[in-house]
């Protein structure tokens, strides 16, 4: 046992600290392909224990990686240099609910959907809803500034975080709020993927449950025409709560698994949700249906009841899982383009996949221009693995060329750090590096993430782990 693990055990006890390889295995990976065992993991019960563990890691020169549910697709929670993983599995409570002021204080390990379930009877909800929301945590969502299907109207996680408690690299606990004078440290911490501080409490903004919600499904001949319809809807000045597209491959996989009632023979399906007053929802549906039909919709229908709405959404959010049943392996890309470029980018992605002889499925937040092409391959075939990597990079370059970016909601993590310099200049990255240098000069918090090796803000300089 190393000095590091024995100090952790001494300070926090065996109930909090894990050091055996078989116990550490679950902290070695997330939903990305890389993994590595940490030297130790802690499952603290409060911020004080988090702070203690961080202080010990610092004194021992060990890196620190915070971990939510490990659903991240970009390796953001992988302890790529070993060190300490902090799991928030026990810090999972709703601490305070203030319905009148539409806010709640939660611990980072609280599962996203459990928050909304816990407060539903009060007529309020928490808007950010990544597809992983049944298992992913609020803390993890804050780390990646997670999005979801309803960002179109409600914005992403950062628009719903009013304040934070975090532990700094010295092991000191701080509280920040949007109401504080001075720099917006809250806004900087959200989406920093655990590289600036370890979040131990989150003050979230809640929203009022709308009077009416309607979920509609339209069938199209192909993804391009569905994308044209989405561009036309946004261009017409309508902002529904969600506009999602699934192509034929995804729709069939989803229907085989969920039987939610999507038209299986369509080339593409548009899922649209409207929310507001009864009158607004009815008028909005009529307008959306007309635009969809003008852009080639083959059918349009609204869900009859809540159960059908729920089924349609469950199927949409389970799309990646449904593909997992029919494909040996798949790789989800996450990129974003200006919304008017959607039809064009869908066409390009199709061409890229064909060039590399890879089947591609598309399931995406069309209203936001946020794409998730899903490349299907077999890990055992070297050619296919190489093709997936090459196609993924080509897709990112295509999106950048169209004025887009390389991650809309999943984060950069380990996977895309080298691609960051495709989007930002050395000066741009140096400014971000200034922030890193202030919060975490030793780069002990989640090293190897976000920034390219060799960038001024990256991993140059003395290693944190000898």
């Amino acid at each position: 046992m190393s000095a590091f693990t024995s100090r952790l055990l001494e300070a926090l006890g065996p109930d909090v600290v894990r050091t055996e390889p078989e116990d550490l295995a679950v902290f070695a990976f997330d939903a990305y392909s890389e993994d590595r065992l940490p030297a130790a993991a802690v499952i603290p019960r409060n911020a004080r224990e988090v702070a203690r563990a961080i202080a010990i890691a610092r004194e021992c020169g060990e890196p620190v990686v915070p971990r939510g549910a490990g659903t991240g697709l970009c390796g953001g929670a992988v302890p790529s240099r070993g060190g300490l993983v902090i799991s928030f599995a026990r810090m999972n409570r709703l601490l305070e609910l203030d319905v009148r002021n539409r806010r709640a204080r939660v611990q980072p390990g609280l599962i996203n959907l459990e928050l909304s379930h816990a407060i539903a009877s009060q007529g309020v909800f928490y808007a950010p809803d990544p597809s992983s929301q049944k298992i992913s945590t609020i803390g993890g969502n804050v780390g990646t500034n997670a999005g979801g299907a309803h960002c179109l109207r409600y914005g992403t996680t950062t628009n719903h975080v009013l304040g934070l408690e975090y532990v700094d690299t010295h092991g000191a606990v701080h509280r920040v709020s949007l109401d504080d004078p001075g720099y917006d440290l809250t806004g900087v911490l959200v989406g920093s993927e655990g590289t600036l501080g370890v979040i131990t409490e989150v003050d979230v903004r809640l929203m009022t449950v709308p009077e009416a919600v309607r979920v509609c499904v339209a069938a199209f001949a192909d993804v391009e025409s569905a994308s044209e319809a989405v561009s036309a809807i946004i261009g017409a000045g309508i902002v529904p709560t969600a506009l999602e597209i699934m192509d034929a491959l995804i729709t069939r996989a989803v229907e085989a698994h969920y039987h939610a009632g999507y038209p299986e023979n369509a080339g593409a399906v548009l899922l649209a949700e409207l929310a507001g007053t009864h009158d607004d929802v009815a008028a909005g549906e009529a307008l959306l249906a007309r635009i969809a039909k003008d852009h080639g919709a083959l059918s349009w229908r609204a869900a009859r009841d809540q159960a059908e709405c729920d089924a349609l959404w469950a199927a949409r959010k389970g799309a990646a899982g449904a593909i997992g049943r029919i494909a040996p392996n798949y790789y989800i890309q996450d990129a974003c383009v200006p919304r008017t470029r959607l039809p064009e980018v869908m066409h390009e992605i199709d061409a890229i996949a064909r060039d590399h002889q890879l089947p591609v499925g598309n399931v995406f937040h069309a209203g936001d221009g946020n794409l998730h092409p899903l490349l299907i391959f077999d890990r055992r075939e070297r050619r296919q693995v190489d093709a997936v990597v090459a196609a993924g990079t080509e897709i990112l370059r295509t999106c950048i060329a169209m004025g887009g970016t390389i991650s809309g909601e999943h984060g950069i993590g380990y996977e895309k750090k080298e691609s960051l310099s495709l989007v930002f200049s050395p000066d741009d990255l140096a400014a971000m590096g200034n922030v890193r240098a202030v919060f975490d000069p030793a780069r002990a918090f989640n090293p190897d993430k976000i920034f390219p090796a060799g960038a001024r803000c990256g991993e140059v300089g003395p290693p944190v782990h000898a």
Partner: protein
């Protein structure tokens, strides 16, 4: 109001583009000078005057629209563009950006962002920081640094825009900002009523439960009447609400609102429509920082919406029966504004007393005699150490508005 050397006023530079602005900053930094980057100057009182100021860099000429495809619902524009010019560009395509800053004909995009202004419609549409999707700033060493982009969902790198918004130009100067914009609501109504002070509580209780809430809801007390022709001498508080949305929802919202007011004993409500509604709403925003009479100071304190009415009441009585305090309570955001007039000594004492009552309160407007300074910020937050370290890292030589920010940053 620039506290420069008493012998020579700071020189004013008006760069033609981002490159020139960055070069001007670099030259100043190399010469060891201190610089204030200035937009329309409408919110300069919301920070302390810099300790030193050798040059003022005006963003006036950085006023171009860089990128605007209305079908994308995004726009990118130069930091020196005025909010009025931006609004006009957007309105031609039925769109708007609810930044809600005072004096939009003079206020600039960059200045509004730097001041971190958050208007009364933010519970409906978000704050400036939420609407900003990308930006380019000129840093103290003259480099240009971009972050974000032109897409509405973006988690590529740190969200640097958040850091610069509200930094009062102490970390860098905005040269360009990209926003997500919104389709203009088809209908808009502004409701104005006077009410008996005794019914304040009943009003507050009824109004927060409206099914179709207004996008702004303010109680103004001691401010000049918003509508011409209001009986002079009527010193009762005024409650104002802005409704925006579809015709049917606005109509329903106003109907429910009026009946709630009626139940609380408010007899008369005047309703303005469309452009009139927008103009009077803007006047309500302007009135927060507009000079009323003589020497005065206006503070803004944040808090919970449920406590806004109480806190405003506490501020109104904080200085005793003979010293009037004009207040504004924002029932949706929790902001409380308190304004006082008087001689320099009375203002200093009044600000201190109001900070006792309201907690941390920032000065947003002041009209003070020369030589009088009252700290605009009050107590610094506990994270001031991190903030100081950020300033030292971004601006090691203290080039950008030194000393004007929280905690002497």
């Amino acid at each position: 109001m620039i506290a420069g050397s008493p012998k020579s006023a700071p020189r004013v530079v008006e760069p033609a583009d981002a490159g020139e602005l960055a070069a001007a900053l670099r030259a100043a930094a190399d010469a060891g000078e201190a610089v204030l980057v200035r937009g329309g100057g409408t919110l300069l009182a919301a920070a302390n005057p810099p300790r030193r100021c050798d040059a003022v860099i005006a963003t006036t000429r950085l006023c171009a629209v860089h990128s605007y495809d209305p079908r994308d619902l995004t726009i990118g524009a130069g930091a020196g563009m005025t909010l009025a010019a931006l609004a006009e560009t957007l309105a031609q395509h039925g769109q708007f950006l609810p930044l809600d800053a005072p004096f939009p004909a003079r206020a600039t995009i960059g200045g509004t962002l730097a001041a971190g202004w958050t208007g009364p419609r933010r519970s409906a549409y978000g704050r400036a920081r939420d609407l900003l999707i990308g930006s380019t700033v000129a840093l103290a060493d003259g480099t240009l640094a971009a972050s974000g982009g032109m897409v509405v969902k973006n988690v590529t790198g740190y969200d640097m825009g958040k850091l610069y918004v509200g930094s009062h130009g102490t970390l860098g100067a905005f040269v360009r900002a990209n926003f997500k914009v919104l389709p203009m609501p088809p209908a808009r109504r502004f409701a104005v009523s006077r009410f008996d002070p005794g019914s304040r509580e009943r009003l507050d209780a009824g109004l927060h439960a409206l099914m179709v809430p207004p996008v702004a809801l303010l109680i103004r007390d001691g401010f000049a009447a918003l509508l011409d022709g209001d009986a002079r001498g009527d010193h009762r508080p005024e409650i104002v609400a802005l409704f925006e949305g579809s015709e049917s929802s606005v109509e329903r919202g106003v109907r429910d609102y009026r009946s709630t007011l009626g139940a609380a004993g408010v007899a008369e409500t005047r309703i303005l429509d469309g452009a009139d509604a927008a103009a009077v709403f803007q006047r309500a925003i302007d009135s927060v920082v507009a000079p009323a009479d003589g020497q005065e100071v206006t503070l803004l304190a944040r808090g919970l919406p449920s406590e806004a009415v109480h806190r405003a009441e506490a501020a109104r009585t904080a200085l005793g029966a003979n010293v009037p305090v004009r207040t504004l309570a924002d029932l949706l955001t929790g902001d409380v504004v308190a304004g006082i007039a008087g001689d320099a000594g009375a203002l200093a004492r009044g600000v201190a007393r109001l900070r006792d009552v309201l907690g941390r309160a920032q000065i947003v407007a002041s009209h003070l005699p020369a030589g009088v300074e009252i700290d605009a910020w009050g107590t610094a937050p506990s994270t001031i150490g991190t903030m100081r370290a950020l300033k030292a890292r971004f601006d090691p030589h203290g080039t950008l508005a030194p000393g004007g920010f929280v905690g002497g940053i």
